[in-house]
Amino acid sequence: MSRLGELTWKQRLGVDSCVRCGRCETVCPAYMSGSPLNPKQIIAGLSDQLRLEVDRPLAIDGGDVVVGDGLLVTPDALWGCTTCMACVQACPAFIEIVDDIVDMRRYLTLSEGAPPGTSAATFKNMERAGNPWGYSPDDRFAWGADLDLPFAERGQHYEVLYWVGCSAAYDKRNQRIARSVVRLLREAGVRFAVMREESCTCESARRLGEEYLYQTAAQANVENLGAYTFDRVVAHCPHCFNTIRNEYPQFGGSYPVVHHSQLIDELVTSGRLHPAGGAGPRVAFHDSCYLGRYNGEFEAPRATLRAAGVDVVELPRSRAEGLCCGGGGGKMWFEAKVDKDVNVIRMEEALAARPDVVGVACPFCLTMLDSAAKSLGVDDVKVMDVSEVLVQAIDGPVSPAV
């Protein structure tokens, strides 16, 4: 979207109802970090523009181009958004700010051919190799080479299909999340499988406006998933989880989808998993936007931590008001100069709670907060996925992949 004439009536109704309260501004991690993004300014600006344009014959020209350098909404502002939904959660007029921002990004990426920074290379990798880094698709399950992973077979029935996602498949640190999940599934005796054809959901490409890439990937993934029989999909990545759960039905792929923390919580409650108990570490829990605000799941990751005997420490901004790690919306894939990175702001907040561990439920959060810890020179506080904390409670530190 680059002209207001392209907005649906629903989007226009939303933008027109902005009351300039600025709540979105107060919760926006991009704005906090000093990026040029101010959601209030975008929505209020569009709202003014709508009212100015309505007396002109819109049908003829669709309105002025409002997105571009020096125009009402600048690309730099749009690329600042982590799609964390904090603004939408805060907005008393229920304006779907993130959808509007992604709409304008789509214009920049697809019509202008101007995606941000190095993300064009990331798109290429996703397209060619099925992962954002461009690693070989053959290495997708290298993290479990010593684990004798069960690959899904046609005609077989599985309780869960474990969707690993690129981050835990290729990122050395995050491979330990996948290993923990497998460890827990085995411990509980869950009949599970991973899918050899698994490939990037291209969710971050979609948030960066690369809709075609996303749709092609979605079709392929839905087709592949359709070949197997399973009761549900489990994903430890909230971005994969959200995509498969809420977006794949539009592509014909409707399955029950759970986040690994939900499954673990269930397994503990039903007695299939029984952690030994005992005093766990002091864990400050950081909510994932895509699990929490997007899907309303705040309890399961905390329950997972408690199952590990953990004393869960709540951060000042948590649950629906949780602060983003800075990694959503495709922000993982390019750098932008700001005053202070969001992940550093968040990590400082977490450190102020004096935890032993910062608990996360998302591989991107893990990467972002880990890198913040490094840049802050902190090495006595670890960032760990909730499943890793639980595995540690069961049998000590998780061994890294071979």
Partner: protein, 301 residues
């Protein structure tokens, strides 16, 4: 009180509690009110129509979550509009929003009942709605609503101009101040009315009666039947005229006819950028903003 003065006869309640209508208001002012009222309704309707056009110029189609499920969505309206549960997520802001909203709703109902009483019950059924115990309850509820409304406005003003966190800048001042004027003049008009034509049940209009007592304390009969009456009339006119409006464009138009500039987006002193009463971001590092650049980042300035 000369009983032959028809505008004063309207103030009297000789048969017991009965809402005095157009007390001390001459015919020309009454006619003006009806004409201006119709005009205001017309302007209001045009404003709605203009917004309607803004929306309807859009592309068709709405997300599934915005269609159907009428019962559930009506429940959301009740919760978020009437119950203000969204604004109440922040205590201070939620408090004054709820006060202003409910003050306004009750006063709106009150004004509507007054119109129905005078222009429907009296004209068409030759009876009155606002009399007896119902009228006394009506007075007590409306005085309370007006006070809640006024306190809400003062809290809002405190935040907008005194604590003034950066994010509330850019709102239009006229609405809030005109509402203060309407409420304050409303009470003064009521107080003067109760001074000009006291009634034994004035205590039900407890705020107005308080003001009337002040008038008695400081002004003699001469003052009450002279200047107080003119003041009552002029404030009545001001009260009716200060009907709030909403600005079409929140920002000043720049030279280019199709660009709005955000006139309030300017650097603010750092002491004003975060409100102590605002339970938003709590990490001190992230709330203190550097006042160096333009305070509203982005393209427009």
């Amino acid at each position: 009180m000369p009983p032959h003065d028809p505008t004063l006869t309207a103030c009297l309640q000789p048969t017991g509690p009965l809402r005095p209508t157009f007390c001390n208001v001459p015919e020309w002012a009454q006619v003006t009110l009806y004409v201006a009222g119709l005009l205001a309704i017309g302007i209001f309707a045009y404003g709605i129509y203009r917004h309607w056009r803004v929306w309807m110029a859009g592309q068709p189609g709405a997300p599934a979550r915005n269609t159907g499920r009428w019962g559930e969505r009506a429940g959301l309206v009740a919760r978020y509009v009437l119950g203000q549960s969204k604004t109440l997520e922040r205590r201070y802001a939620g408090l004054f929003h709820t006060g202003i909203l409910w003050g306004f709703i009750l006063l709106f109902i009150g004004t509507a009942l007054a119109t129905i009483d005078w222009d429907v019950f009296r004209l068409f059924f030759a009876t009155r709605l606002l009399g007896g115990p119902f009228y006394l309850g009506y007075e007590a509820v409306l005085d309370t609503a007006g006070l809640v409304f006024t306190v809400g406005l003062l809290l809002a003003i405190w935040r907008r101009y005194v604590t003034a966190p950066h994010h509330v800048l850019g709102a239009w001042d006229f609405v809030i101040w005109s509402l203060v004027v309407v409420n304050v003049t409303g009470f003064v008009v009521e107080g003067l009315r109760l001074a000009i034509a006291p009634v034994a049940w004035g205590g039900y209009s407890w705020v107005g009666q308080g003001l009337a007592n002040l008038v008695f304390a400081f002004g003699g009969a001469e003052f009450i039947q002279g200047p107080a009456r003119s003041l009552h009339l002029w404030l009545w006119l001001l009260h009716a005229a200060a009907a709030p409006r909403r600005r079409w464009c929140s920002s000043r138009r720049s030279r280019s006819p199709t660009r709005c500039t955000w006139s309030r987006c300017r650097p603010t002193p750092s002491s004003r950028t975060s409100s102590p009463s605002e339970p938003g971001p709590r990490s001190s590092r992230s709330t203190s903003r550097t006042p160096s650049s333009s305070a509203c980042r982005g393209s427009a300035s």
